[in-house]
């Protein structure tokens, strides 16, 4: 079996680790375990047996907030990865800023985005608490958690 990893966004390699383990599990072990069982086993082996429960499922929890973060600061229909290849990206493709003379218009324009962000902010906060708890109690995968921590911090800054 050969596994190749492709991703245009170049995330840190630590963020691929669970996927690599899943590949090994399902290619060598067949479908003996469900996805949820695999994730539980991964938490058990990667972090420590005491962190196997759903309460520590911070990797899945980060999916949506990171999804919102990706294009949070750019206009609808634009991907952040394309900014450097566009003309006048700051003026035309980065979100507008509040107008001193038309207060309230900005919040109205971005209301949907702000609402989405509000829901995700709580999830990021919970993820950060979970990471801190695991780190405080101790795990052999400390560096892996530090990388997830930084992802959470960057998302939180944008929110």
């Amino acid at each position: 079996m050969l596994l190749t990893l492709w991703d245009d966004d170049s995330p840190h390699f630590e963020l691929y680790k669970r996927g690599i383990n899943a590949f090994a599990e399902f290619s060598w072990g067949g479908l003996k375990r469900s996805k949820e069982e695999f994730k539980k086993a991964y938490r058990h082996r990667k972090f420590r047996p005491r962190f196997q429960s759903e309460d520590y499922a911070f990797i899945d929890a980060l999916d949506k907030p990171v999804g919102v973060w990706t294009n949070l600061l750019v206009e609808e229909g634009i991907h952040r990865n394309s900014l450097n290849q566009r003309e006048n990206p700051i003026e035309e493709h980065i979100i507008d800023l509040p107008d001193f003379d038309n207060k309230g218009a900005w919040s109205e324009k971005y209301a949907e985005r702000l609402a989405k962000l509000e829901a995700q902010r709580k999830i990021v906060e919970k993820v950060q608490n979970t990471l801190q708890q695991i780190q405080t109690e101790g795990t052999k995968a400390d560096y892996n958690l530090k990388v997830y921590n930084q992802v959470g911090n960057l998302v939180d800054y944008n929110f």
Partner: protein, 103 residues
């Protein structure tokens, strides 16, 4: 986003001034977030490409090949901060001595 929203919905001069002050601090806060991010990532990743490195010349949009340093990870953050700087600085010059200023 939250700070921009706070500024936009500010009802009084004091609320507006507070929001502007927070906006003014966003660049410094970003620099702190980025420094920590780089400290962790750089333990296992080379963040700066060697001198003379030629970035992608084709149409692909792989961000990691869009800058020789680690700017590519923060493209939209850096652009927004630049926009905020231009937007509020211009306004503060226009309104100098008449209203809350950014600097």
């Amino acid at each position: 986003m939250e700070t921009l929203n706070t500024f936009d919905i500010a009802q009084t001069d004091t609320q507006e001034a507070d929001a502007l002050e927070t906006l003014n601090e966003m660049k410094a806060e970003f620099n702190q977030v980025r420094a920590k991010f780089e400290e962790v990532y750089s333990q296992t990743r080379i963040l700066n490409k060697p001198e003379g490195y030629i970035l992608d010349q084709d149409h692909h949009r792989h961000p990691a090949n869009q800058s020789v340093n680690f700017d590519w990870q923060f493209t939209s953050e850096l652009m927004l901060l630049q926009k905020i700087d231009n937007h509020f600085k211009t306004r503060s010059v226009l309104m100098e001595g008449t209203k809350t200023q950014m600097e």
